[in-house]
């Protein structure tokens, strides 16, 4: 694929027979072949399985069967989605050769929708990171500037869509891991309400925060992709008992009278002027369409990051305990006894950031520290949630930057975990509150994309999508593929 094509266009062309699913799949595979050597957005590509799926779609079309809403659309999933028979590494050496015996609910729903799964995308190890540099294998690059990071942890998914290696990709968002890379790579990234998309088959990082979401070229695709995976799943006890509306229908309509809150805490120190300018300009556009916008406050925002870095590591310390070398995955050689096997396996299998978070979480849950850390963090979480409740009594949507900065250079923050953590300061509170958040491109700084974040009420994805779609139309957005080309150099988008 060398020209940008959206899923809804492609699906329509496949349905009309203008292009076969197999041709579309081959185009995506060719693009991967052409650029992924430098982009490194994929950890595993599954051409045979993808072509088989594509041919099945084509056969169904020839038979006159009803085609699914994603019929023939090449889709990539983050490598923390369990895929039966296809290795699922979570970006970690400890699962380097792990092949799940089952597929998760999202993957199964995508297959039912006619999507063609073409491979598994690169990610920060166990979804812990904001730059993809924590991948246990190799970092993915930003297709607009290969010296820069694509964001994380779903950096591979964002890069793949931006560069046209996949038409749609899915990621997971625990503290911004769909939205922030979407922002860095100039695509639309949606983190749905916690519980809207089943987590069954998503390898857990922080169970109370993780949520699956799509990365797409435009808002229509976001609605389409969300529709395919949303809805109650009896296999996930935290999945909402909720019948999702027709999101494609919901994106139509205007934003007249829409009440927009602009949380001042999201424009704090460290926000790049170009980012703030682009976001404020986007708000102007929405106001121009009839929305009303005013500043508001989410006073506990400052503490959200700290609370997140207690809660997420605490949950991960338990979630990652199963990687012990006993049943699957890496088992270190030469262990003297059981304890030594655990220690060696986990020391060799986990990267530095994962080990850091396991230790943080273990400490926070330890007897004597639980109240001071975990319990206090949960209280802060409640306060953060209440901030949003108060704001949503007054506003329909909150608008802010997705990330305070554009994509930074590889290595720039790698040595300083705290600086890296700040990359998620605008996205983390949304996960703590379990709300939907959407990042949509709203300009660039020297060719590096800037993301506008829309935050909505729980289960009100419809309003987010409608607002984003209205913006998209107003600015005359047309998707363009990122070059993923070293010759494009700095400001490749310009």
């Amino acid at each position: 694929m060398t020209e940008a094509i959206t899923a809804h266009e492609l699906r329509d062309r496949v349905k009309r027979g203008d292009i076969s699913a197999e041709e579309a799949t081959r185009a995506a595979l060719d693009r991967i072949e052409a650029v992924d050597g430098r982009l490194r957005a994929f950890l595993t590509v599954t051409p045979e399985a993808a072509l088989d799926q594509a041919r099945a779609v084509d056969a169904a079309r020839r038979r006159g069967d009803r085609l699914g809403p994603l019929a023939g659309v090449p889709v990539a999933v983050k490598d923390n989605f369990c895929t039966e028979g296809v290795r699922t590494t979570c970006g970690s050496r400890i699962l380097e050769n792990f092949v799940p015996p089952y597929s998760g609910t999202a993957v199964r729903r995508l297959a039912e929708a006619g999507a063609v799964i073409i491979g598994k995308t690169n990610m920060d190890e166990f979804a812990m990171g904001s730059s993809n540099e924590n991948s246990g294998f190799y970092p993915a690059r930003n297709p607009w500037d290969l010296d820069r990071v694509p964001g994380g942890s779903s950096g591979g998914s964002a890069a793949a869509v931006a560069a046209g290696e996949a038409v749609v990709a899915f990621g997971s968002d625990t503290g911004g891991s769909v939205r922030q890379p979407a922002s860095f790579c100039g695509v639309v990234g949606l983190k749905p309400t916690y519980g809207l998309v089943s987590r069954f088959g998503l390898v857990a990082f922080a169970s109370s925060l993780d949520q699956i979401g799509p990365l797409t070229l435009d808002v229509t695709d976001s609605a389409l992709a969300l529709q395919a995976v949303a809805g109650h799943d009896p296999l996930d006890s935290t999945s909402a008992r909720y019948d999702p509306p027709d999101y494609l229908a919901a994106i139509e309509g205007d934003v007249k009278g829409l009440r927009i809150g602009i949380p001042r805490e999201y424009f704090g120190e460290g926000t790049e002027p170009a980012v703030e300018a682009a976001v404020r300009k986007a708000i102007e556009v929405l106001v121009g369409l009839g929305a009303k916008a005013e500043e508001c406050s989410l006073p506990h925002t400052d503490h959200a990051l700290s609370a997140y870095y207690i809660i997420a590591p605490a949950e991960c310390s338990a979630n990652l305990a199963r990687y012990d070398g006993v049943r699957y995955g890496l088992r270190a050689a030469g262990a003297e006894d059981l304890a030594d096997m655990y220690a060696k396996t986990r020391a060799q299998g986990f990267g530095a950031e994962v080990q850091r978070r396991i230790m943080l979480g273990t400490y926070a849950l330890s007897s004597g520290y639980y109240d001071a850390y975990y319990l206090k963090a949960q209280k802060v979480r409640t306060l953060v949630r209440q901030d949003f409740e108060r704001a949503f009594a007054k506003y329909d949507v909150l608008v802010a930057p997705t990330s305070p900065t554009v994509a930074f250079k590889l290595g720039e923050r790698a040595e300083n975990p705290l600086a890296m953590y700040l990359a998620d300061v605008c996205t983390i509170p949304v996960n703590l509150a379990g709300l939907p958040g959407l990042s949509i491109p709203c300009g660039d700084d020297g060719g590096l994309p800037i993301g506008l974040q829309l935050i909505g009420r729980a289960l009100d994805e419809a309003t987010l999508l409608r607002t984003a779609h209205a913006y998209e139309r107003a600015v005359g957005f047309t998707p363009r593929l990122a070059p993923a080309d070293p010759a494009a150099g700095k400001g490749g988008r310009a």
């Binding site: 369990c82 799940p100 390898v203 296999l235 006890s237 949950e315 199963r322 049943r327 849950l365």
Partner: protein
């Protein structure tokens, strides 16, 4: 040693006999080939999530209600974190600070004295797998069939004052759970497992340091381990020593407890709320429904057996000690005229037969109707009690109509007085000394003659007729 007092608290794990596991749909059949009753969920594969089996919740509520507990309206699960090869997630889904039920009690008898022990809590959790050490070469193999089987943990307050009381409590707990039908409560299959906390102190002083005892795999082991531990601690304190707060294992072979190695020692379990299972409410109306579905429990049944069948408390207690035995008794009593006689037969001959043949109460070979028929043969004067006892093993072994067996064997009572008189006369002639004793007023010696006649007629003579005839022939009517 007499001025020492003992304090014991007991934690019991009971496997619930739901058809499927607590968080997945794998079967729970005991004794299947290793690792054949597993799926990605109970194996803790990456990405899997637990979904609570409502049958397990209902079974746990049932047990809690039978133990007189208050069922919480809101409860949650927690993760208990520790590393062990048979714990595939690296944590056990259990309940920490909001157990399913609390504040119960259980009454039981010790030496005819009623005792009541408070039950602190009942909570629901998943079982771990089984490590088979040294199974193949030096390796440890793990069987995950048991992983995810639902368990309840029943924690008593430290209200028990002797190993005998602990044993009596456990026996009663087992009976009550058995009545509810939520578990097989078989210690030998591990569906009932027990740990105990025990301390000793001088009368009048504060409680001593509790020691946790593990590996108590039978009622016998519980009693022996507690006896051993009470004696060990008492000697230690008497000698001016201090009891260490520790966990000790009962070593059945050595007949003693030994401290666990440091690596086996208690962990910091780092409990925190299980994010994959949100806190949930239990509808009191549903709890009331479950309460309504409880069967008659052992105490109520015992009281009813005393009132309805006129059984003595002890007899009623033993018979209602097992729901199967109680049901058996009721069916036999319904078919017989005199329930007390049925109780005597059940407690005497039947229990002896079952013991001798190592049969459980769920495998009584003779039907209650045939037992009642046998008793009725005695009542109708067709056989003597002695004959009845002598044919009982065959009645059990074949479960045939007792009357047919007795007829075939020619064991019916001899009602021909002529034949009995003959035997009486022979007995009198053969025992002049006894006759002399009787004549001298030693009335009790008459029994000897009656016995001789019964022996001569192989027990078939009607004892009353024999009695009468002996008196008549000796002129002592």
């Amino acid at each position: 040693m007499s001025d020492f007092e003992t304090v014991i608290g007991v934690e019991v794990h009971v496997e619930l006999n739901t058809r499927t596991k607590i968080f997945c749909q794998c079967p729970t059949t005991f004794g299947a080939e290793p690792n054949t009753q597993v799926c990605p969920i109970c194996l803790g594969m990456p990405g899997t999530l637990p979904v609570l089996n409502e049958a397990a919740l209902e079974a746990a509520v049932k047990a809690a209600l039978a133990l007189n507990c208050r069922v919480a309206e809101k409860t949650k699960f927690d993760r208990k974190n520790y590393f062990y090869p048979d714990l595939p997630k690296g944590y056990q889904i259990s309940q920490f600070d909001e157990p399913l039920a609390a504040d119960g009690w259980l009454e039981f008898d010790v030496d005819g004295q009623a005792r009541r022990v408070r039950i602190r809590r009942v909570h629901l959790e998943e079982d771990a797998g089984k490590s088979l050490h040294g199974a193949a070469d030096e390796a440890t193999l793990v069987d995950f069939n048991r992983t995810g089987v639902p368990l309840i943990e029943v924690v008593s307050e430290p209200d028990l004052r002797s190993p005998e009381e602990a044993r009596a409590y456990l026996t009663k707990l087992k009976t009550v759970i058995e009545y509810t039908g939520v578990s097989d409560v078989k210690m030998e299959e591990g569906s009932l497992r027990c740990d105990a906390n025990v301390s000793v102190h001088r009368a009048g002083s504060d409680f001593g340091t509790p020691v946790e005892l593990k590996n108590l795999n039978s009622f016998r082991a519980i009693k022996l381990a507690l006896d051993y531990e009470v004696e060990r601690q008492t000697k230690l304190v008497e000698g001016g020593g201090a009891v260490a707060r520790e966990t000790r294992l009962w070593d059945e072979k050595a007949g003693q407890t030994r401290p666990m190695r440091s690596k086996e020692l208690s962990h910091d379990y780092r409990y925190f709320p299980e994010p994959d299972l949100v806190p949930f409410h239990i509808d009191p109306a549903w709890v009331a429904e479950v309460r309504g579905s409880l069967p008659e429990l052992p105490d109520a049944k015992r009281d009813r057996f005393m009132a309805e069948y006129g059984l003595p408390a002890y007899d009623a207690g033993v018979i209602t000690g097992s729901p199967s035995l109680a049901a058996y008794f009721e069916r036999a009593a319904a078919a017989a005229k005199d329930p007390k006689k049925v109780a005597n037969w059940v407690l005497g001959e039947l229990l002896a037969y079952l013991n001798a043949h190592e049969l459980g109460f769920d495998r009584i070979p003779v039907s209650p109707e045939n037992l009642a028929a046998l008793i009725s043969l005695i009542d109708r004067g067709l056989i003597s009690g002695t004959i009845a006892k002598s044919v009982f093993p065959e009645v059990c072994a074949t479960n045939r109509d007792p009357e047919a067996i007795v007829k075939e064997k020619g064991l019916m009572v001899i009602n021909d007085e002529g034949a009995i008189v003959e035997a009486v006369d022979r007995a009198i002639a053969d025992n002049p000394n006894v006759v002399a004793d009787i004549r001298n007023g030693k009335e009790r010696a008459m029994g000897f003659l009656v016995g001789q006649v019964m022996k001569a007629t192989k027990g078939r003579a009607n004892p009353e007729t024999v009695n009468r005839l002996v008196r008549e022939r000796l002129g002592r009517t």
